[in-house]
Symmetry: C3
Subunit: 107 residues, 3 copies
Amino acid sequence: MKEAMKKLEIIVKGNQLQAIQELLDRTEVSGYTIIPNISGKGHHGLHQGQLMFNELDTLDMVITVVPEDKVETILAGISPLFEHHSGVVFVSDVTVVRPEYFKSKDA
Amino acid sequence: MKEAMKKLEIIVKGNQLQAIQELLDRTEVSGYTIIPNISGKGHHGLHQGQLMFNELDTLDMVITVVPEDKVETILAGISPLFEHHSGVVFVSDVTVVRPEYFKSKDA
Amino acid sequence: MKEAMKKLEIIVKGNQLQAIQELLDRTEVSGYTIIPNISGKGHHGLHQGQLMFNELDTLDMVITVVPEDKVETILAGISPLFEHHSGVVFVSDVTVVRPEYFKSKDA
């Protein structure tokens, strides 16, 4: 099975990781991957100059791939987190190949 | 040199990493990158409810970037692995910039 | 705020990481993320068969997301590095969602 999906890469401070996982569990995503202990630096100065991440904070990246109609649900769920905590989400197009893809070709 | 290519992100359990590397070597990809010791959770419930990864398994992500005509070859090579082991592949569009890109501009 | 941007994934040997960070700071990117201690293997044999990375070198990946008009500036800044050091840059399309996105929806 090949599916056109959206990949979300959610970068947050470590203390927000569990909240993101709980959100994804509630949203019933089919899975996610965590790249732990990455470093991040940056501030989002385009509008209000607010600090996004301090100098080389320890962050986690959570990668999940979902159908397009779940993207807004997840972003809405992240909203209250992002009111009080730093973070950024990258959204991109991706095709997913799962074990079933091969099975259906063999069938 | 700028090339339109396909990026494959192959996520497997650690004990399948070597098989993936051997496959990529055989396919003569120009290189690959491994992000080790990531965590993954998820099951693929869309069709058969089968378990994809157990709760927070330790996984590896192998990233390789190939011309479009190699994608099917690699997926076919992964097929026998995925009959017996969990895994997922994300495929996306990417442009690659290599050292030659700069050299040709200087030339 | 949702923005169509370019994601750059810059893979270099560890001893080039600081030079990449300084370049991104000079280019005034709004932030970047570092995935440390990844492994890479590969040579770029398409044109000159030159070695890109030795067998499973330890590398770092630096991810930054920038407006399209900054891509060439960053690539030009990487150019002198890549004359003497191995590396590769993947460029892809991405949409960025930042905290302001949610604030403007609430407003």
